[in-house]
């Protein structure tokens, strides 16, 4: 009967947490308590990284330094042109009377924990409410969209990856602007593109970028590259698979988009509301954003 009591207690906890979300505040506090353990668990990795830095030879460092400087030069040169293009973009958008592209601020965070669960894909990062994080904020890495913040503690937060089975977001095909919904399906190297009509122009190799339609994700970040398009005449939609752009299983540092600064000379855009259930604005039958984890 002790087992019975404990099973009952677990079931109640699961219901309270999973079904009714009553444990949200407790979870945030517990997440803080768990930070030292996460920190400890990632200590070996950090130690190796540190050893690699300390034990590398002068030549290696010089070589790396040279490569980085060359890369910085190339990137800076590209940014120069970007400034001009951005200014032109703003002018054109003003001519078209459309809202300006929002500027975003980012915060570097380090991944300190990875979900050990094979079926759910979340990571823990070392920044929290103290650093200005809120649920719903987008997370990117150097290569593309990484995920979004779902749980915020004081000094750490949990990030749901774009490939998690509970994650979906609106995206656009860069080549022709076609709107699609990209869903994770639980594998770390695959995304499903949902509700693609058989006649839609989507080809393997197409780049999908995030769209601002839902007002949760910043627009224009690479989400994935279409890998295969299978048209089955018996089905109403094509089966489209994509490979995520972000290095979901390799990145150690990610960027949290902390603020979408409102555009200066445009009509105000509602800030992304983290608490509200995200409203899909494309196909209403597909879940957009994150449903309750």
């Amino acid at each position: 009967m002790r087992l019975g009591a404990l099973v009952l207690a677990s079931v109640l906890l699961m219901l309270a947490d999973g079904r009714f979300g009553m444990l949200r505040p407790a979870r945030a506090a517990l997440a803080d308590a768990a930070v030292p353990v996460h920190w400890l668990s990632s200590a070996p990795e950090r130690l190796f990284a540190w050893l690699g830095e300390v034990l590398s030879t002068r030549e290696t460092l010089l070589e790396e330094n040279r490569a980085l400087r060359a890369e910085a030069l190339v990137l800076r040169a590209r940014t120069q042109r970007l400034a001009a293009i951005a200014a032109e973009n703003v002018r054109l958008r003003e001519l078209l009377n459309s809202t300006a592209v929002r500027d975003e601020r980012v915060l570097v965070a380090e991944i300190i924990g990875v979900s050990p669960d094979l079926s759910s894909q979340t990571v823990v990062i070392d920044k929290g409410r103290h650093h200005g994080l809120r649920t719903g904020q987008a997370v990117i890495d150097a290569y593309g969209l990484f995920g979004q913040v779902i749980e915020v503690g004081r000094l750490s937060s949990r990030v749901l990856l774009v490939t998690d089975a509970m994650h979906a977001l609106p995206a656009q095909v860069v080549r022709n602007g076609a709107r699609v919904i990209v869903e994770g399906d639980g594998r770390v190297d695959a995304l499903n593109v949902d509700h693609v009509a058989a006649t839609m122009d989507v080809r393997p190799g197409d780049l999908l970028v995030s769209s601002e339609l839902e007002q949760r994700f910043p627009g224009g970040f690479p989400v994935g590259v279409v890998e295969s398009v299978v048209n089955d005449p018996g089905k109403p939609f094509a089966v489209v698979q994509a490979r995520p752009s972000a290095q979901l299983d390799r990145s150690r540092h990610v960027l949290v988009v902390t603020a979408l600064a409102p555009p200066a000379a445009a009509k105000p855009v509602e800030p992304p509301d983290a608490a509200a259930e995200p409203e899909p604005e494309l196909e209403p039958q597909a879940p957009v954003g994150v449903s309750r984890p």
């Binding site: 087992l3 404990l6 677990s10 109640l12 699961m14 997440a31 990632s42 094979l118 759910s120 823990v124």
Partner: protein, 166 residues
Amino acid sequence: MSADANQPSRLLFAASVLAALLGAIVPLPGWLAPARPDWLALLVVYWVLRLPHGFGIFSAWLAGLLMDVLSGGVIGRHALALAVVAYAALLLRHRLAHYTLAQQAAVVFLLCAADQILAGWVQSVAGHPTQSLIFLMGSLTAAFCWPLITPASPRDRSLDGWQAVS
């Protein structure tokens, strides 16, 4: 088991649970992640067999709760699974003491699989369906780890005296 012998083992329990939790969440490379042994279930089985009066269902439940907090899924799923595992191990402990190492490892595999299946089942009800049966790899590697930890006295001490007499 006398009370004074239990006192120092409290700390040992806590330390071993912490170690198992660390082992359970330490990041592994992608190809190795499915083969991560189910350390926590292994530890629970080990302690229940070795000190059934010191480490019981409730301790296993607490350890599972800690795991839930760390792993970030639905709270209560590992707690439930580990309590069930501890209960099954308690029921089987006299029998296990007489099994050969291979038989023990097979039972440990079943117990760890029960833990993973229960936890995975709750998770899939919550919307994270498991992809394949590959998650049972963790139970398999845990079973292979069993002979490594069991020479450090796996059995109930009360049975040791009984064997010395026979």
